[in-house]
Symmetry: C2
Subunit: 400 residues, 2 copies
Amino acid sequence: MTRTTRPGPVAGFTFAATAAGIRRSGRPDLALICSKIPARCAGVFTTNRIKAAPLQLTEPRIAAGLCQAILVNSGNANACTGEQGLHDARSCSRLAAASLGIAEDLIAVSSTGVIGAPLPIACFETHIPELARSLKSDAEQAVAQAIMTTDSFPKQAAVRGEVDGTAYNLFAVAKGAGMIHPNMATMLGFVLTDALVHPDLLREGLRRAVDRSFNIITVDGDTSTNDMVLLLANGVAGNREIAPGTPEGERFCAELTGILLELAKMIVRDGEGATKLVRIHVTGASSAADAVKAAQSVATSSLVKTAFFGEDANWGRIIAAVGYSGAAIEADRVEIRFDGVPVVQRGISTGREQEARATEVLKQAEFTVAIDLGLGSAEADYYTSDLTFDYVKINADYRT
Amino acid sequence: MTRTTRPGPVAGFTFAATAAGIRRSGRPDLALICSKIPARCAGVFTTNRIKAAPLQLTEPRIAAGLCQAILVNSGNANACTGEQGLHDARSCSRLAAASLGIAEDLIAVSSTGVIGAPLPIACFETHIPELARSLKSDAEQAVAQAIMTTDSFPKQAAVRGEVDGTAYNLFAVAKGAGMIHPNMATMLGFVLTDALVHPDLLREGLRRAVDRSFNIITVDGDTSTNDMVLLLANGVAGNREIAPGTPEGERFCAELTGILLELAKMIVRDGEGATKLVRIHVTGASSAADAVKAAQSVATSSLVKTAFFGEDANWGRIIAAVGYSGAAIEADRVEIRFDGVPVVQRGISTGREQEARATEVLKQAEFTVAIDLGLGSAEADYYTSDLTFDYVKINADYRT
């Protein structure tokens, strides 16, 4: 698997973005992604019971299996906007379909931004036709920029695969920095491939890849009303269909997981106010569920996250978070390491010298906290950020 | 029920506190509470699976039903200290028993402070005999001060009750400001009464009172290794025994809940870095469990708590937190009010004018967010603080 941060060209897809005036700042806020033919598709959507209007519209369309274009805006979530919100989402979708000359049920709509404000529909009416006219094959960076909210940098990843000598490309773009928590996060992700892929593999592969990437990251423990990840496969590469249960199918899933994990880590690195990317690596748990519980509990603890910010190897807070996670634990079997430096063995401190070495590890921008529960063989990973002054600043000031 | 913030004298109990040198700052850090006769007792202990040494020693003693003295220190949690920690806790208890001339199993020991550091046992050896000699009936304020860690003020509450014309007193002292979350919190609470109370009522009453006070507050979502609340009733008031299932029993429970709720609110008000005390009041839930889920989810959301700090009536974050709480919810039935100002009706905004009025409410130091789910008749309360720069500062710097 070759991976590159510079996206490879993914055949048969075009892109456009503009500043439509949805955001007061005048930043780009509306984007369109289009496939030249209807693409097979799969999607993963927020588990929040409050679902934004665009999700209510898009989820059943994706379930039907075909999608040709994605219209996405930042600056307004179109969530908690009642009947009017659903009506507005439909108007946008109708307008995009008309401008592109395709069937309306091939359009996915997606929104991110402030909850509860009515969608400024005039911005869409003015700019959607213009977007449809300006689609280009190399404007994917503009899309990555237009979907940003509190993100500080655009997020994209690409990988090139091969099946029977035919090359194909996978390209993904994502946004997210706050309200980031599994199932899913205030995040949008759009994955495009020119490969021909069996529909079952698309669905199952996306589910698996999301579980191993966007579902093991946390910034602030909040799950949003607008999250969606869409995967479109248009088959333009001309490869033999990639089927489930084959080596190529496994490879495709691994590639998909790879680029989504790359994006997931970018999201944590760009977590609101974050200065550190920390991997919580739990091993030796009694069960897979326990491993996840323990890793998640440590990754979401405010006390642990502020200690990371303070560059304090405060393992007491880590072991306390494992203790209340609900995972089975025996205090005298726990071992904790910071990038290989042991600070806890058999449940107690290894002494000041090791702690001083661990403090050096914490000064790095990225490190791993390895927690061995010493009870079984199950393990789990979680990626988290530190909790900083800037997190508070960004979120206390967000709307004002 | 008469309630006063100035503690009433609780007969037959004496108090002492000193600066034993456990804390480097030289602040008071060791305290002793003693009843002149063995008292009936009940206790509630942390649910964290990592239990500090003093809990391992004290929990079975309290379960046996009698306690005469409580030795408590701040500055060191004696948690994750292995065999040595348990040995040290026993030494302290033995020393207190010898100094007081009572049986060792009548001593409760309790610690709060940094996790993982060995207990500086010499401080205890030097100061416990001195404490035992200096016990006084009016030194309860000194105890409240000695158990503080990151608390900014001492916390005590008292109430006077009456049964058949005989007066009795309830006095409680607590500490806690960080690692505050139900089941239980980094908190210690000691409740003393001179009433004669049936042992079943003590146990059941304490459990109920804790569930309605310390178990519905949150500062940072972390549950500590050292939490305990002890209730001692020495019967010195000379009243007829208060029995379960009687009007006096109910009254006693209500008084107990009252002073614990008073202390619980003080803890949130003193939450690390907190500037606001916010009551989350959920009504109209389908079930009691759903009401608690919804209230807790809102109370613990970092995004909601930073919005409180920013004095932003950001109901979108509130409704999103209800949406991912797991509680049954129908978006178009939700109503949200800030101290009576409606900001959401039938799931959508009531408009800018109401939101401006709500913003005024948020400028207050204390207010209520009322969330009506419109589905049933179950309700729940939760008390939370805002998430501020100072929270991050305090916890990033705590050990250094």
